[in-house]
């Protein structure tokens, strides 16, 4: 009796499991999405673009692919498809009716939102990517003044796909980049307005190689600045130098280059690289007036000098440090003027700093924070410290 019962149980278990395989998707049944783009069409619909990879192009040595597994010429690596719909899912549904595999979002690298959509407001589309179990917070989110579809319809010379190329580019943090998690956090917070990385498809370089003598101009996706939002709507752009100011204000300046005029030789420049920098925001609320004291500290390395300053002498270093501080201040001021003065939004998280210090006042101010912020005074204090001078102390040409 006991044995029979046991057998029945085992049988049930096996049947339940084998007849199952509900969530099972073989690797060659999924279409891996590497890049996602969302556009807003003229008839007010949402256009969803996916950059799908064709895995066969990635086959290692085994299947007759060349050594190293690189794609050969005239071989399609990605396939960019798009469809329009009322919602993101509506568009995806249309796509999945046309594509022979399951659309697989788990490896999405980049989400590109077009300017038109951003100006309309991103809340309409962002939720899809929150609720998808496969979507991740590590996806790079970017805005483009071009059409998102056009940006994804590109390839990269160094990487296999342009989506991966953008991902690697973002990882280097040469611009102000942020991921889906950061963007959603900013979007949800009342103390800061979100910003997005700006990307564009630009002609970049010339590809070279035997058989490529006919110059072949290549278009690559590059970072070109920052998009400024008010709430969920885009209101303006910052270019690359202004983005550097934004990075100072956000305190994310590692590996940023600064070019300062030489304090001694006029017309000559000195290149510095920021190794470590942080910005402290100290809000002061007095008599209904808001003031922010920013203190920035930076450690920089000397990269090159055009003149012949002797950096073994402490007083030269002192002068350089103060010149660099002025340069940084200038950068920050330009950005601040544009964002605070022109766009009248707080993109820097100053509201959150205010919240941390003045809890009670914040609950009164938070709903009209941007207006309050537009009138706030911002004071800046920059301290620069030269850390290293590279492999050289004095220039070799410098006579004693």
């Amino acid at each position: 009796m006991k044995k029979k019962l046991f057998l029945v149980l085992i049988f049930l278990l096996i049947t339940v499991n084998i007849s199952g395989c509900w969530s099972r998707k073989e690797l060659n049944e999924i279409a891996i999405i590497l890049g996602t783009g969302v556009d807003y069409t003229k008839d007010n619909k949402i256009q969803l673009t996916y950059q799908l990879v064709r895995p066969a192009a990635f086959g290692g040595g085994g299947m007759g692919g060349g050594p190293g597994g690189g794609a050969t010429m005239n071989q399609n690596i990605t396939w960019v498809v798009s469809a329009t719909g009322d919602t993101v899912f509506d568009a995806q549904r249309r796509l999945s009716q046309q594509i022979s595999r399951h659309l697989y979002l788990g490896h999405n690298v980049v989400l590109i939102l077009s300017e038109k959509l951003c100006r309309h407001g991103v809340l309409d589309v962002i939720n899809f990517f929150h609720r998808q179990p496969l979507s991740r917070g590590t996806v790079w989110v970017m805005a483009t003044p071009q059409e998102a579809k056009k940006v994804l319809e590109s390839h990269s010379e160094l990487q296999m796909t342009s989506a991966q190329a953008v991902g690697f580019l973002a990882r280097l943090r040469t611009g102000y980049v942020l991921r889906f998690r950061d963007f959603s956090q900013d979007l949800a917070s009342k103390g800061t307005n979100p910003v997005l990385t700006r990307v564009e498809l630009k002609r970049l370089g010339v590809t070279q190689g035997p058989g490529l003598e006919k110059a072949h101009h290549h278009q690559e996706v590059v970072l070109t600045g920052t998009a400024i939002f008010k709430g969920d709507k885009l209101i303006g752009w910052l270019n690359c130098p202004e983005t550097q100011g934004l990075r100072w204000l956000k305190g994310k300046v590692d590996r940023m280059g600064i070019i300062v005029p030489s304090p001694i030789y006029s017309g000559k420049k000195i290149s510095l690289e920021v190794m470590k920098g942080k910005t402290k925001v100290e809000p002061i609320y007095q008599k209904g007036k808001i003031k922010f004291y920013l203190s920035t500290e930076a450690e920089v390395d000397l990269i090159e000098e055009q003149g012949e300053e002797d950096f073994t002498r402490p007083e030269i270093i002192k002068t350089l440090e103060s010149t660099a501080a002025i340069e940084i201040k200038q950068r920050v001021k330009t950005t601040l003027d544009k964002v605070q003065g022109e766009y009248k939004v707080d993109s820097f998280g100053f509201g959150e700093a205010f919240h941390r210090k003045y809890k009670r006042e914040w609950s009164k101010l938070k709903n009209r924070w941007d207006e309050e912020f537009a009138t706030a005074q911002v004071y800046l204090m920059v301290k620069v410290k030269l850390r290293d001078t590279g492999m050289q102390g004095r220039r070799a040409s410098l006579k004693r």
Binding site: V16, W22, P133, G137, R356
Partner: protein, 345 residues
Amino acid sequence: MIYATLILFIPQNTVAYAKQDAWLSFLIAFAGGVLISLVVINLSLCFPGQTLFEYLPLILGRWPGKIIGFFYVWLFIHFCTLVDREYCSTVVAAFMPETPLVVFLIHGTIMFAYITYCGLEVLARINQLFLPLNVSLLTILFVLATPEMKVVNILPVFDTGLLPLAKSTLTPLSWFGEIITLAVVIPYLAEQKNVYRLTIKALFFVLVLIEIATLGVLLVFGPTLTSSYLFPVLSGVKMINIANFIERLEIFPLIVWITSGTVKATLFFWAAALGSAQLFGLKDYRPLILPLAVIVTALGYLLHPSIIDLINFLTQAFPFYALTFEFIIPLLLLMVVLIKGSGKK
């Protein structure tokens, strides 16, 4: 046997509903948990060698005792069902949305049933493996997630005020209150003398684990985003990306969930099986495993139509319901014992 009480490891899907200062509310809940455990231990020590189900009739008389005993059996079945359902829902929602829930419920139940069949000792032993495993996994994940963390995310402290804080304490308190299972476990502990020390140690341990998870999630996401996620820990782990290689570590919270959930649910299952056996006057609880397993699976499937319903129940109704059994009834029992002067053999 020592660590058998360390099972109160709490699946994190309800952390989302704790407020801004969630990590503080756990501290308060911990204090409450200690209070509850003191009541339970004192009660149990009045009747050495006997479980809750054995001394209930002694305190309240044969029939009232048995009826309350049945309520407790139900409570343990319900606890078990809830834990089972919690992690099955998690798995379905986060990993395998196409798979029917009942498949995982059956998996879960097979595990409880088998471990219960092997006995409390085996449960304690596997816990000795899973506990260090889970602690180290959580710690490693916490460390790996540090690049994503910002201290400003948990500032300012005490932002929401005292009342919301007190409210948010209720749910974790009812989790800590699951230490009521001690009333059944204590007679089986090897070291009766150290039971106070062990319990406090166990609770403290649980607190540390919860704090690691909660703080980690809050530091990564900040309060607003955290409370919008159903499974913040999972989302937090998804953020980990070190050198483009140490990434996509979702499997580890999954391991932590399943192992700790299994141990916890099994303990409740065992308590329910033992309790019903003792109430029916059976010598061995093993024949009751199969019917109980069927009940748990069916309840797990039927009690809540969706995960939102489950979470609503856990955050809104559950604390009051659970705390009645976890705190108020044991407290009343203890008072009766002290007044009547029964027990203390």
